[in-house]
């Protein structure tokens, strides 16, 4: 006999746990199924800007995460080519004015605990078999427990929060993105103990841009842990896995400021890497179903927005669904409106990620914008707003600012680059920014128009997770940390892939 609940959620990490916590707190009967047993690792940039941290507070998970002694990072330092530099504070969101970077093994178990505390029934090591349908609407799921026993669970709403290779997306027919852009950069990272823990430098998010490579350092948890990250060309993921230390030393030589900052660090972990971070939008709502977090939309992790957007989308989905859950027609309409709001919330960051993932030398214009910001804006939030979502990319990089940056670059000598080349590149960049603005102003729902300069259509979106046999007993599988490899990632000897940038 089928079980019943109000909402069933597949996936208990960021989007799933956040939606579950808000739905359960509203008094709804919520069941969350996840194939992992927590604590469980997941590839991720791990970074949360102040608005993301505030989402943790709103869902009730922040206090428990803070108990793991993460370093709070209220500062951003951005350096380009060892020349221009800015140091600023993050814009405050609610009571939160700091970033956090907490390993998923620590963070996600607290997300699950918060959902359970709110009243959700979180079932670990349970896997989706199929979505059930009635009258053209998703009406529940069939799942397999850890012993392989299959059960039908009827629900008014089915939420897929099961990541890039979402089984729910495949079951509802929404797996193929209607809009996608391939990544240019890969991700290579490791943890270590920070020699500057406890100082202002130990509470700063660092970003170094040298040549065509980017490097990052995020204070992490528990202190004095820190995360060190390189984002060079996607092919570097393969290089890094082939020879960890040679790669690491080569990148430190490329980023001397980073090498100086982490000098003396201890307890280095092994490298992890991925080159599979293509960005996409999937149709994320339909009759009786919705796709939250990475299941519905993914953007390049180079801008570190994935965790925040997953939490945000889970909360907003719950807020849209709660008042209309008993009216199927109104619910379907609310889900579509939620999807539109998600797109409007995320599409500028999607373009930002697409622009940032292109592997090319730091623009002299950007260098001058950073220099001018560092010199004239004091330590209040400015450039960091584009990461902290205080303002959108067009609001931060205004046309006037781009033009001023170009004038400064020409006056200063464009870093050795011929002036005509700099002007030509600046005009090309300006055209991309104008294309992005046009796309944002269009506000087209599920737009399929390619934005030149930003989007590079990806013919190879991630492949769906292997489905559980509909009637057979489910085979045992390890947790998700090493199972969500796309064909491309498998072909390259990387050890795992990003699920939530």
């Amino acid at each position: 006999m089928a079980q019943r609940c109000d909402v069933v959620i597949i996936g208990a990490r960021l989007a799933g746990a956040c939606a579950a916590a808000h739905l359960a707190r509203a008094g709804l009967d919520v069941v969350v199924l996840d194939r992992s047993r927590f604590p469980s690792d997941q590839m991720s940039t791990h970074l949360l800007f102040p608005d993301g941290v505030d989402e943790l507070r709103r869902m009730g998970a922040l206090d428990a995460i803070l108990a793991s002694n993460p370093t709070k990072s209220p500062w951003l330092q951005l350096t380009t080519n060892g020349d221009a530099q800015l140091l600023e504070r993050w814009r405050q969101v609610g009571p939160t004015d700091y970033c956090m970077c907490v390993p998923r093994t620590i963070q996600d178990v607290e997300l699950v605990n918060a959902a359970r505390t709110a009243g959700a029934d979180v079932r670990e090591r349970h896997r989706l078999v199929d979505v059930l349908w009635r009258g053209g609407r998703a009406s529940g799921v069939r799942f397999a427990d850890s012993d392989g026993n299959q059960t039908d669970l009827e629900a008014k709403l089915v939420i897929g929060a099961d990541g890039r290779r979402s089984s729910v997306a495949a079951s509802v027919g929404a797996f193929r993105p209607y809009r996608a852009s391939r990544n240019g950069r890969g991700l290579v990272f490791r943890y270590a103990d920070d020699p500057m823990y406890g100082t202002r430098e130990g509470q700063t998010i660092y970003q170094w841009r040298d040549g065509d490579s980017m490097a990052f350092m995020f204070p992490s948890a528990p202190g004095p842990k820190m995360l060190m990250l390189f984002m060079g060309a996607a092919s570097e993921a393969t290089e890094a896995m082939a020879d960890h230390e040679s790669y690491w030393q080569r990148k430190l030589a490329q980023h001397p400021d980073m090498a100086a900052r982490i000098d003396g660090c201890t307890d280095l972990t092994k490298l992890r890497a991925t080159g599979d971070t293509s960005a996409y939008f999937r149709a994320s709502s339909g009759p009786g179903w919705a796709l939250a977090g990475d299941a519905g939309h993914f953007k390049d992790p180079v801008i570190g927005q994935g965790q925040r957007d997953a939490l945000w989308s889970g909360r907003r989905l719950a807020e849209y669904a709660i008042p209309v859950l008993d009216d199927p027609g109104a619910l379907d309409l609310a889900l579509r409106r939620w999807e539109r709001e998600r797109d409007l919330e995320c599409v500028h960051a999607y373009h930002f990620g697409n622009i940032e993932t292109e592997v090319k030398p730091v623009s002299p214009v950007l260098t001058e914008i950073v220099r001018r910001s560092g010199r004239s804006r004091g330590q209040g939030p400015d450039i960091g707003d584009v990461f902290g979502r205080g303002r959108t990319l067009p609001q931060v990089l205004t046309v006037a600012r781009l033009v001023t940056g170009l004038a400064d670059a020409v006056r200063r000598g464009t870093g050795g680059q011929p002036v005509p080349t700099t002007v030509r590149e600046a005009v090309a960049d300006l055209r991309i920014h104008l294309n992005v603005r046009q796309d944002l102003l269009g506000r087209r729902f599920r737009s399929t128009r390619v934005v030149p300069g930003s989007e590079h259509p990806d013919p190879r979106p991630p492949a769906p997770t292997r489905a559980v046999a509909r009637t057979d007993r489910a085979a045992e599988e390890p947790p998700t940390s090493t199972t969500n490899l796309s064909p491309r990632a498998v072909a390259e000897p990387t050890d795992t892939v990003v699920a939530a940038g």
Binding site: W133, G135, G136, R137, G173, G329, R340, R444, F445, S447
Partner: protein
């Protein structure tokens, strides 16, 4: 025309549902039950339900809320049942497509192909709720070896122009009918007049499938709504229009032989028959008339008046953004969608 040259037979099931005004989700559940039952009982290659499968099309406030996204629950129902049951499933609904709502009819094939047709002229009060399409109402079904098939909705079945457009072009006509009759609750002279018109409407509905089959020289399957229905009288606020759907679900061979039929008195149910697909062999000549059946003067007058009223109101509300569906995020699907994997169904997007 991509038809096979040798005649072949195909079994078609047609469903006559009794649906409730405005109750879209319940109606779709009911349709699913009827489709499954029809497939179980008849094992057809094609099963069709009427136009307006999400709700009967009448003049009522409830109609303002029955349109659904073109990739919404009605489309999902037809698509998913076609794939699951391995049959062609046909059915209609009011679909938001791009910037308008249309009376859309779907033919969904087991391999994921879908073919959409938008009714060309909404009938009378229907003009209040959607606008007409401009596609030719012709497609080819891979499940029938590429046989060319026509699609007609409502009074598209009743117009000589439809026969003219499809004659010689199709080997089979599918689609459906939603035909509420004249009021049966009026009294006095109006009651006598309405009773006479009601009898004429039933006669026309009974004769139409056979007439169209002979004009096209191709078999037809016309599923129709059935059952009592109450609504408001257009241009007469406060006057109730209580009547019945005329029924007359029929499957007719290309020579006009009625192979299967459900009348209004038969109520809800389904029938099936095996028809012959082959080169079209029209039996009757096309005429110069607008209507195939000799509609009464009062019906023609009502057609003109209500079409004008409804169309003006639809456009005015659209300009003022008063249609509820105008607040939805839009999107559209192409009329023809090729075979798709189950995990990658086409979704409504904006170009």
């Amino acid at each position: 025309m991509n038809e096979s040259t040798q005649p072949r037979t195909v079994k078609i099931a047609a469903i006559q549902p009794a649906l409730r005004l405005g109750e879209v989700e319940q109606n779709l559940v009911r349709l699913e039950g009827l489709i499954r039952d029809a497939v179980r009982e008849h094992a057809p290659a094609v099963v069709t339900v009427p136009e307006a499968g999400s709700s009967p099309n009448v003049y009522a406030k409830a109609l303002r809320g029955v349109a659904r996204p073109v990739d919404g629950a009605p489309m999902q129902l037809y698509r998913r049942l076609a794939r699951e049951l391995g049959v062609v499933v046909g059915g209609g609904f009011l679909a938001r497509r791009g910037r308008d709502v249309y009376g859309t009819y779907v033919l969904a094939e087991p391999d994921g192909r879908t073919h959409l047709h938008d009714k060309d002229i909404p009938t009378m009060w229907e003009q209040n709720y959607y606008t007409g399409g401009d596609d030719p109402g012709r497609t080819a079904l891979a499940a029938l070896d590429g046989s060319p098939v026509g699609i007609a909705c409502g009074w598209e079945w009743a117009r000589m122009g439809t026969a003219r457009r499809l004659r010689g072009q199709v080997q089979l006509l599918l689609g459906g009918m939603c035909w509420p009759s004249y009021p049966t609750n009026w009294r006095g002279p109006f009651g006598l007049w309405a009773a006479r018109e009601h009898a004429l409407q039933r006669q026309h509905a009974r004769e139409l499938p056979r007439q169209m089959a002979r004009l096209l020289g191709a078999p037809v399957a016309m599923p129709s709504h059935v059952g009592p229905i109450d609504f408001d009288t257009p241009l007469a606020p406060g006057v109730a229009w209580r009547t019945v759907m005329v029924g007359e679900t029929q499957i007719v061979e290309r020579d006009g032989t009625v192979l299967a039929r459900l009348t209004a008195e038969d109520g809800e149910g389904h029938v099936a028959a095996t028809v012959t697909l082959g080169a079209p062999e029209p039996v009757d000549p096309l005429g110069p008339m607008y209507w195939i059946p000799p509609l009464s003067v009062s019906t023609r007058a009502a057609w003109t008046a209500m079409n004008t009223h409804g169309s003006v109101k639809y456009r005015a509300m659209r300009a003022l953004r008063r249609h509820p569906w105008q607040t939805w995020p839009g999107g559209d699907l192409p009329d023809e969608v090729g075979p798709t994997d189950r995990a990658e169904e086409p979704q409504a997007t904006t170009a």
